[in-house]
Symmetry: C2
Subunit: 315 residues, 2 copies
């Protein structure tokens, strides 16, 4: 059955029937708007959009995978503020001939990823469109803490990372060369493993700045350096190249550090902490903040591609 | 200059430079997420998406018009809960060859419509896409009141309307027949005039149910009737056909009541009030709630089209 055959309201009924709601949901889908708890009188909110052919391909990822990734991209933004995600809203644009099962499985993936952090899909909208597009808005709660913004890094701070980088980019390269294995890399592209709790933990531990690594580690640290008016130097030695990644890099003729340092879409969290801080569990040091501007690797400009731009990125 | 030429970050800089921020904005664009005040520990949230060729056409509406309409569709959903909008987040998908001026003017329209109610554009995302698509999420504040949901209508309630219906549909018909006038109708399609304050006012006056009229009055009252488990009868005589609409209807061979009763996208607000309530200013009675099911006009089934479905709607 196609989405056009079921119709807008039929599809909304099918999708909402599959959702479950956490305790932050005061009013779920079905009305003009949802209502979500904002216990500390503030709400953190972020929007990310995934476009078929640019952020995902249906022959590379199942609908459930795309749901996981669309949710992860947004939930990671909330975690990167030091907040705990509470709710997702989803605008889904679909070709009329799309099978309803695709939309239903997408909702399953969105809901399952949100449930990892106790969040829920609380609302959304659907429309026909020639281009399959998923725009997600995530809401979150800071539990009374100040948000950890990009502009707080100070000279002398330690740069630390929670989660992994390079895996999604490696999986993307594998798929784009027509392979389906190594499975670990391909799965990392399909469903990022985001260290959500590391965000609030970093905030509690006194992180001075934090960012979700979506454009690539060096590019995202570049955002922090620019916003904070500082220089950041990354230590290449801090990154071990996992065996699967090394083997794939060799087979594909790629420098694995181009994945690790410049690959996006793993949604690791990068943060800066005062030099005296004890890093919370799950965080490891990868560099230093200094006076100046820009991002270097072992004190030198990085020669490879630094990240991607969603208007220029080649497929 | 095209959006691809300026690039994702360049365009984000250009657009955010044009925005202004109301007092609910605790942290605006530029970080992983925005932060918005939620004074009563709850946030109302709604998402609506506009797709080129389906919800708007660039040869019918300017970018600023589309921004006004995209914002209005979402702000009206917040008002229909009885809430005051505080913030918008915008996911904008654009063909790479789109002129940046279009995106900038769209942002102007979004910001100007939001400013009508003291709300602000606080964040978003941009991506290239073959299909120009604007997904907007609106947040709002209930000031401690319970939300006015669709399910509260009771037999004996009065059905009332704030704002106008049929104007956007008339303008749409005019444009779709290749005309550019009457200007009043065309402008109503381009920029709906939403009675935002009527939403919170209805909540304060004891409205039992409320909905934003986006699918068409009878279709949206059908949502209220179904959610509330009641019947609704609309009085045709309650609707005067304005002169411009009557003339256009005659010239185009259309029954103007098909616009008024079934046309969407004016974003009027429809609500039910206890029979004993005094309607707040700006609200006028248009029907009655009774025991039963379904929506009738003067006690009879309505023969015309009841509304539109965004997967089936003919262009």
């Amino acid at each position: 059955m196609t989405v056009a055959g079921v119709g807008e309201f039929g599809l909304i009924d099918r999708v909402t029937a599959r959702l479950t709601y956490g305790e932050s949901v005061l009013l779920g889908p079905g009305d003009d708007a949802a209502m979500v708890a904002a216990p500390d009188r503030r709400v953190v909110a972020s929007t990310d959009v995934l476009v078929e052919g640019r952020h995902f391909r249906r022959d590379w990822s199942g609908a459930r995978d795309v749901g996981h990734r669309a949710a992860a991209a947004n939930l990671a933004d909330i975690a990167a503020m030091g907040a705990t995600p509470t709710a997702l809203l989803v605008a889904l644009c679909m070709p009329a001939e799309l099978d309803t099962a695709w939309a239903e499985e997408l909702a399953d993936g969105l809901g399952a990823e949100a449930a990892l952090v106790g969040a829920s899909v609380v609302g959304g909208d659907m429309s026909a469109s020639p281009t399959l597009t998923i725009a997600v808005t995530a809401l979150g709660d800071l539990a009374g803490r100040p948000p950890v913004v990009r502009s707080g890094a100070r000279p002398g701070d330690v740069v630390a990372l929670a989660g992994r980088t390079g895996w999604a980019a490696a999986g993307y390269t594998v798929l784009s060369r027509g392979f389906r294995t190594p499975r670990l890399l391909v799965e990392a592209f399909r469903r990022p493993e985001v260290p959500y709790p590391a965000g609030p933990e970093a905030a509690r531990a006194g992180a001075t700045a934090m960012i979700d690594v979506s454009d690539g580690l060096l590019a995202d640290l570049g955002h922090v350096a620019r916003a904070s008016g500082v220089a950041i130097d990354v230590t290449r030695e801090a990154f071990e190249v996992p065996r699967q990644m090394r083997d794939a890099a060799q087979a594909l003729g790629v420098d694995p550090y181009s994945w690790i340092l410049a690959g996006g879409d793993d949604h690791a969290l990068a943060a800066t902490f005062p030099g005296t801080a004890t890093l919370p569990s799950g965080w490891r040091p990868v560099g230093r903040v200094a006076e100046g501007a820009g991002v270097t690797v072992d004190g030198r400009a990085y020669e490879g591609p630094a990240g991607w731009d969603h208007f220029r990125r080649a497929e």
